[in-house]
Amino acid sequence: MSSDPLWFKRAVFYEVLVRSFKDSNGDGVGDFTGLREKLDYVEWLGVDCLWLPPFFSSPLRDGGYDVSDHTNVLPEVGTVDDFKALVDAAHSRGIRVIVDFVMNHTSDQHAWFQSSRSDPDGPYGDFYVWSDTDDLYTDARVIFVDTEPSNWTWDAVRQQYYWHRFYSHQPDLNYDNPAVHEAMLDGLRFWLDMGIDGFRLDAVPYLYERPGTNGENLPETHEFLRMVRRTVDAEYPDRVLLAEANQWPADVVDYFGSFENGGDECHMCFHFPVMPRLFMAVRRESRYPISEVLEETPAIPERCQWGVFLRNHDELTLEMVTDEDRDYMWSEYAKDPRMKANIGIRRRLAPLLDNDVNTMELFTALLLALPGSPVLYYGDEIGMGDNIWLGDRDGVRTPMQWTPDRNAGFSTATPGRLSLPAIMDPVFGFQSVNVEAQVENTSSLLHWTRRMIHARKRHPAFGLGSFTDLGGSNPSVFSFSREFDDDTVLCVNNLSRFPQPVELDLRRWEGCEPVEMLGHVRFPQIGELPYLLTLSGHGFYWFLITSAVRGGPV
């Protein structure tokens, strides 16, 4: 890959669960080799970077976020060599790869924890947070309120309590121990040496705990991240650190680090609240839920970028909306209580939007145009459904639907052997929703998504540009501009299911001509008067603003 330290600011990311993408050896589980076989598809779609959620050795009690060995992989997805081959093949196509790395905790099956509980005085005795009582750090909230009564769990072997911010089978590492720092850096180096392009750092706000605090966003945590960044920058240029910090943007912005030198902690952070607000804005037919949260989003250091997403392997996160909003989101999207998980909802994009193509396209257009780098979730590009009858969050992790053939073309195994069953319902089942059919049909959601991704990639304004909310006369129409150097893009989105007119104040581009980006259609010249547009229900426009030089017959 050629050197480009800001590649992540223009990139389109694609999250792939290796176990669910393509099974190359017929054992019912997706693997590295299968993913490698499908890189042609990923490249065709226009993806710049793959994000692979955890595939490290794990008892898989939390989707792989319970790591039992940071330098090895799950046997069913392949070998470390298979992974290396995948990274090389992706790079040869110009596609980068980042992987999940869980900093905060390990599985209780990790050798470190087993050693820590049985040998308190041994080398790993101080790797975890142990206490004789369970009344320390009571100000820290319990995150998985459905299953965990406390952040402390009693260990019968060591006869002490251990601290865990997530599940009780995921003990938190003790970051007050310098040996833990070294062990984590060694884990990062293992993968960086293999050529990967960065990490998504899982659950970073919780690394340290201190009495009298909520144990989130502590200064010590930032100090540790700066040390990680220094190490990565010095030893491995052009790599990216993407933080998962499910907090308000005003708090998240601290994870980018100092403004003076363009950011010295993580290169990217996920923007969590924008996603539920998109859903609410469309439901309310009002731009204010989105406008407001973008207005409240602080500036970030120059060499940093937000990551934005519609859906991912976790539930629709509602921690970032107010209680009033949360009740509203619940009652709207979770009519079936089984769809609720913790403070969120487990659905894929298409079923969340009642499989309405116009709405799916509107959401995708917003995802690709809002400030930040978009992160697509595998399968959403073809409008895949989910299976709410599967436990935990597995409902949105079912096999990628490649063809209408057996097992959706995902695997040659006996259907019963699949790690998760393919979707077979009449609306979203693989016989009606699959890549093969949509590749054949150029008016499919897949082709549409591809065209939009490629349109985005032609315009640096989307990745690098400023964002300006343009307001407008109609509260149901959300309009904004993105500008970078002489690349100016105007996006107009109708959040209502009905056709809408809007008058926009575009005087700053007086004399220019908007050109619709997908069809290259020239629209009337912008004058001093409000610019009138009409949009179909859930319709949208992407315009390029060009200085008006009209070609015509002489």
Binding site: R284, E285, S286, S291, E292, E324, D469, G471, S476
Partner: protein
Amino acid sequence: MTDVPAAYLGQVAGYLERRRWFAGKGRDFEVTHIHAMPWLGSTDGLDGWPRVRIEIVTVAFADGSEDTYQLPVGYLREADPTLEHALVGTLQHSEFGDVVCYDAVFLRDATARLFEGFIDGRRGSEIEFHVVDPEHLPDSAPVGAAMSAEQSNTSIVYGEDSILKLFRRVGAGNNPDIEIHAALTRAGSVNVAPLLGWISGRWWTPQGEPRSGDLAMLQVFLRTATDGWELALTSVRDLLVEADLYPEDVGGDLAGESERLGDAVAVVHRELAAAFATTSADGYGARLADEMQRRLDDAAAAVPELPEFRDALHARFERLRSLTEPVALQRVHGDLHLGQTMRTVKGWKVIDFEGEPGRAVAERAGLSSPLRDVAGMLRSFDYAAGATLQGFGSNPQLAYRAQEWSTRNRSAFLSGYAMVDGAEVDADSDLLAAFEADKAVYEAVYETRNRPGWLDIPMQGIARMAAEE
């Protein structure tokens, strides 16, 4: 100073008659006098075109009454066919010879001249530019664009950041809109558009008497805003196309916004009480009862549908006489409705503190119970429901839903209002009930005269209030 020929007065009269902000339409009038203020900006050399100045126009009616209007005029040496709609007239000027005169608000180069005085901090004997904080002004005068929605004033938007509201009808004295914005801007209110400056002038009547008054105000432009009326109509429409759902089940539910709006209005009231004198009045109820009953009697004579409910409303006003506690009075908005509120990306703002336009300036600055504004908002929710319903034709099911929408949003507004410390509002208060009925009576007269098709909206409200008595 008058340097225009008499024929020009007739041309100006013709122009006034075509403008929406001219309140004398349909009456016999003539322009009797034009007082020309000094030229704005540089007039040296040929670069001085267009010449721009504010002209104060005196209009005399057949009944002997007079009105004064402000007309900023841009003089060009040649006609500009693209500005036909803004053409005031042509004249031979004593200094410049033949010129063509346009309403300056539509003349781009002229708009910059209107702004220049703020940057120079111009303070002349006839025209004075007041600046709140020079830091917030641009370095050079931008050109502006007149907004198409012209009401009793004309607004010019400059660049992205500021808007100049030009008062067309100028009276002697200070404009309460400027006075209130100045005070709330000083107090750091986040619920109004901050004041950047204003223009005041001094002139002479045809009889040679000196007059002075505010001519225009410059404010931060709420670029991302949509007014509350549009939001409300969107929400009601969303409900009525469903028809079989409750307001709280429909995506377009506005209750959250209405509650936040109530909060914003209560905060503005608290800020007004802190910035201006307040008083605690004895006998306020009796005075109001007199006033409201008199207005009701006048209205009953003008609106044939009203006498049926007269006794019930009289009884409602009569209860004010038993208000024994003193009532807290303060400066208020005076003409508050959804159209006077703007939703921006930073929450709700309240605009246009001019008071009730029908009243004399001195009266507008009077103190009142803030419940007058609250009642105005409650009526406005009813109006939003009624106005949308009109577009759907008569249908009892939809009418019922529209009423549910109004009830839900009215109560959300009240609960938002009551959440602010010190803001007291009791939905059952006699005072609030009286203000609301008084407002509805005013609406009934207005609709009878101007929009008979909408009379049903206030009459439905009046019938409901009468039924409660």
